[in-house]
Structures are given as C-alpha cells and as structure tokens.
C-alpha cells in the first residue's frame, strides 16, 4: 500500500518534471538552420572541393602520385626552349607545359594528401561544397588552360627571398565547362 502511494506520487511528480523541461524548451533558442538562405560558417581549413591554380602548376606530378584513389589526371610535355621562360608565383621555373589537368571529384576522398607535396602550393581544398549535379561526368573538373595568359610570367627569376605565397582564403569558382 505504501509502495502504491509512492508510485502514484512518483508518476505525478515525474510527469510535472518532464512538463517543466518541455516548457523550457518551448522558448529555448532554436537550432534549425534554413539551409539555402542561411549557411553554416565552415571551420577554417575545411576540406571541400579541390582547386588547382593552373598558372602556378609546374607539372611535377607529385599530387598524382600522392593521390590514394588516383583521381588526378595529368599530362605534361617538356616546354620548348624557344618559348619564353615562365615561373610560378614562388619562383619555381615552369619547365613543363601542362596540357591536361583533370580532377574527378566523384572519386576524390577529400584526404588532402595531394596538397602537401605540391612545391608551388597550387593545388588546395576550397570551402566550396555545393557541387551536386544530375550528371556524374560534371564532377570531372578540367583545370588545364593551355591558352592561358600567364599572369605570373616572370622574365627573370625573382629575388632570392620571395615572400611565401599564402594560399588564398577563398578560391574563385572555376568554371568546369571551360577547358
């Protein structure tokens, strides 16, 4: 009998405790994020879509060898000696003409291993994450621009101590349609 009263009392009071909790949550701050209108502020160095700055690439292929899933396709030929000498932003001479530099983002595992060996810091992860398409082949991004005007063309090697080129905070969105 005593246990019965105890149980009833406990049932009533615990219900009230629960109702108190839900009542407080009724006015609590909501956690919903209206995704297309509001976006999560991504943490710094978040690993999303890869980007390659073609003008800085020396075609060394170290990123291709580092990639564990082989999603980077590179084709480079020796640059003819008749052509003017060009250099990457950090002063590395570009001795190879890169004709193909494709990254298949549908294969990429976002491990970030390709960015470490790059001698010119030209390949890096961007915070760009909205690249869903209805066609899988759209995830093959072509970065090579053989007719690009080399903005970083240096007629002569740079000063012996160049300032380390910091990777830009937000990369310009490359147009995959443009080969």
């Amino acid at each position: 009998m005593k246990q019965w009263f105890k149980d009833v009392w406990e049932g009533v009071t615990t219900t009230l405790v629960g109702m108190n909790i839900t009542w407080r949550h009724l006015f609590a701050k909501k956690v919903t994020l209206h995704y297309p209108e509001e976006k999560w502020t991504l943490p710094p160095r978040s690993r999303m879509r890869l980007f390659m700055k073609y003008e800085d690439c020396i075609g060394c292929g170290q990123c291709v060898r580092a990639c564990p899933v082989a999603c980077i396709y590179l084709k480079a030929e020796k640059r003819p000696a008749t052509q003017p000498a060009i250099f990457a932003a950090n002063g590395q001479p570009i001795k190879l003409d890169v004709s193909v530099f494709d990254i298949d983002m549908s294969l990429c595992c976002y491990c970030n291993l390709c960015t470490y060996p790059c001698p010119t810091d030209c390949i890096y992860m961007t915070p760009e994450y909205e690249f869903a398409t209805t066609d899988l082949t759209n995830h093959l991004y072509h970065f090579a621009k053989p007719d690009a005007k080399f903005l970083t063309v240096n007629p002569k090697p740079p000063a012996p101590k160049p300032a380390p080129a910091a990777p830009p905070e937000k990369a310009p969105t490359p147009d995959p349609a443009k080969a």
């Binding site: 009833v8 049932g11 219900t15 629960g18 109702m19 839900t22 949550h25 009724l26 609590a28 909501k30």
Partner: protein
C-alpha cells in the same frame, strides 16, 4: 437552437422551423469542427517543433501557416485505395462512424447560456455514450482492413477505451453529485461566481484529483500520447488506420482532433466553469457576452496541455496502461465518489458538509504558505551559495 428558433415567424409550420433552426445549428457547428483541425494541426506541428528546439513548418505561407491547408488538399485529392480482401462496405463506413462519434457530442455542448444546440437533461451521459460510437468505428476499421496491424490496433483501442471509460465516468459522477443534474447547462450554471466556484477548485484535494482523472482518461479515450498504443507507429505501422489513404485517412485525422476538442470542452465544462469568466466582471464587454470565447479559450488551453504532454511523455506499454486504468485511476475515482457522495449527503443540510470552509480553503492556504516558504528558502539558498562561490 431555441435562440434561432424564436427568430422565425410563428406562421411557419412547426416542422419547418425546427428543420431550419436545426440546420443552421448543424452547419455552424460542423463548419467550426471541420475547419478547426487545420488550425490544431498547424499549432501542434509548431509546438512539436518548438519543444524539440526546431522551428516547425516555415515554407508554405508566412511562418508556414498554409502548410496544413496544403496537407489537407493533398489528402483530399489522393486516391482512396481499398486493400485486397477488405470488406469494402465496412471499410467505408468505419471512418464515417468515427467522425460521427466525435461530432455528435457537440449537440449538447453549452457555448453560452443560450448558445447550445439542445440542452438534453442527460447531457453528460449522452456525451459519454456518443463518444463510444467512435470505438465501434475503430474496431470496424481494424476488422475491415484485412490487415493484422490494423486488427491489433483496433483490439488495443477497444481494450483501452473500455478500461478508461470507467474511471472517467466515476470522476464525472463526483461533479454530477455536487450539481444534482446531468445536464451540461445546469453543471455550468452551478459554477457561477468566478474562479473559486469552478469545480476544479472546490473540495480542494478531491475535485482537482477528479479533474486530473477525467482529463487523463479523456486523453486515453482520444488515443493521444502517452496512451496511443492503438496507433503505435513503432510497433503497428499506424494501427487501425494503416490501410486508409486519402480522404478516409483525413476523416480519421479530423476525428482525432475533434475528439481532442470534445474532451477538452467537456473537461472545461465540468471542472473549469464552462462559459463562465474567471471573474464575473470579465463575463461581458458591454452588451456582448464573452461566454463562447471563454469556453473555447479554456478548451484550447487544455488542448495545448494535451500537445504538451504528447511531447513530454513516452508511450506506455500495454500492461502499464492497464495497470494505470484499473489499479490507479479506478480505485482513486471510486474513493472519490464515496467521499464526495458522503460529503454531499451528510450532514443533511442543503449543501452537505461545509468542506470548502473547514477543510478546502485552509488546505489551500497551508499549501500556499508551504509553497511560498519553499520558494523563499530556495532563493535564500541560492543567494548564500552565490555569495560562497564569489567569495
């Protein structure tokens, strides 16, 4: 109905006046009940969202206000699918019966002193009897669906409603004994005089318990969480309306929310003073009576409590459910009936034992003093602890 009845000239034949007045009442009530769920579902989804720290519907219309209208339109235009082997006649009849059971109760609800479709002298009994019709509909739906889950749900619903009607009626008897009438209008009139005269606050520890029992049993009768084992999603898909789609499903939905409203309205009529304002001065604004507004606001408050409970408590197990009905609510309600009956009958004065004066209000005062003391001591403890921590 009498109010509208008087509007027509006496030259009209009697049956025509009855038909027109009844028709107007029916149209008004059915419109109110059929459009109500649109609001209730919206409010419920919003409250559900808020209690889970979400926002709820937001996309359709300002603050998602048109969401339920969109849902209703979708439901109404969906194809009604009849499962193979279903008993088609019963399958169609079942949702109609459920809705009928929910709607019929409104005939005797007093929305105001004269704003009542009809004042049956067995009003309370009528409400209880009529709301049992929906149980028949539920069992019919479960049987006709030719689906094991639907049948399980229907059987559970039958067991649950049969069990919970008994404590509901027992606690209701306490009110009926105090008033000496089964008519809902007389029950409301007996609570005249503002907040302290409502039955919830009379016979202090007794009537609040009766109200609690009635509300809990009502919650169980409209299959709401924590008593929603007839449609337990995690076990029975959707219980008795598993096989229903489109318009018929919408009818079940409508019936569920209407039943919620019925239980809330009956509870507020029996225990919360019906259409009386909390203070007599608030009963009217000038010549306009606020009776219906008060009744509806009380009922909506109780509906909010139902939604609040839904997002607070988990679903009960079947054995817990039966334990609660037969071993907790029923004995307490029976003791209440005996005690209240004794107090009303003895000593044989007009109002029986003056409980309110000698026991009820002193208890309330003691409780209030105790609460104030508790709050003050908690505050004092908080201040002292704060000082300790900052020192």
């Amino acid at each position: 109905m009498d109010l509208i009845f008087g509007l027509f000239p006496a030259a009209m034949p009697y049956w025509a006046r009855v038909a027109v007045a009844g028709g107007i009442c029916a149209v008004a009530l059915i419109t109110f009940m059929a459009l109500g769920p649109i609001l209730y579902v919206y409010v419920e989804t919003k409250i559900a969202g808020f209690m889970q720290d979400r926002i709820g519907p937001k996309r359709v219309g300002p603050h998602g206000m048109l969401q339920t209208i969109a849902d209703a339109v979708k439901l109404l235009f969906k194809e009604a699918i009849y499962p193979a082997g279903a008993d088609k006649k019963l399958f169609i009849l079942a949702p109609c019966l459920v809705v009928l059971g929910a709607f019929l109760s409104f005939v005797v609800i007093p929305f105001g002193s004269r704003l009542q479709a009809t004042d049956l002298n067995v009003g309370v009994f009528y409400v209880i009897a009529v709301s049992s019709i929906s149980t028949v509909g539920v069992i019919m739906a479960g049987w006709a669906s030719n689906n094991k889950y639907a049948l399980f749900g229907a059987m559970r619903s039958a067991a649950q409603i049969v069990s919970y009607e008994i404590p509901a009626m027992m606690s209701l008897l306490a009110v009926v004994m105090l008033v000496g009438s089964l008519s809902l209008q007389s029950i409301v009139v007996a609570q005249e005089g503002g907040l302290p005269c409502w039955f919830l606050f009379r016979y202090f520890p007794l009537m609040p318990i009766a109200a609690l029992i009635f509300f809990t049993a009502g919650l169980a009768e409209c299959n709401r969480t924590p008593f929603d084992i007839p449609e337990a999603e995690s076990e029975l898909v959707a219980g008795f309306h598993t096989e229903y789609s489109g318009f018929f499903f919408a009818m079940f939905f409508l019936a569920e929310y209407t039943e919620m409203l019925v239980v809330s309205i009956v509870t507020s009529v029996l225990f919360l003073g019906g259409w009386w304002a909390p203070h007599p001065a608030l009963q009217t604004i000038g010549p306009i009576g606020l009776g219906p507004v008060w009744l509806i606001s009380k009922a909506w408050f109780l509906m909010f409590v139902m939604m609040w409970l839904r997002w607070t408590l988990p679903r009960l197990r079947v054995d817990q459910l039966m334990h609660m009905a037969w071993k907790v609510l029923l004995p307490v309600a029976m003791v209440l009936v005996v005690v209240v009956g004794t107090l009303v009958m003895w000593p044989p004065t007009r109002n029986g034992f003056p409980w309110d004066r000698w026991v009820g209000w002193p208890l309330v005062a003691l409780l209030a003093v105790y609460l104030v003391f508790q709050v003050l001591s908690a505050r004092r403890y908080g201040v002292r602890r704060n000082r300790q921590l900052t020192a």
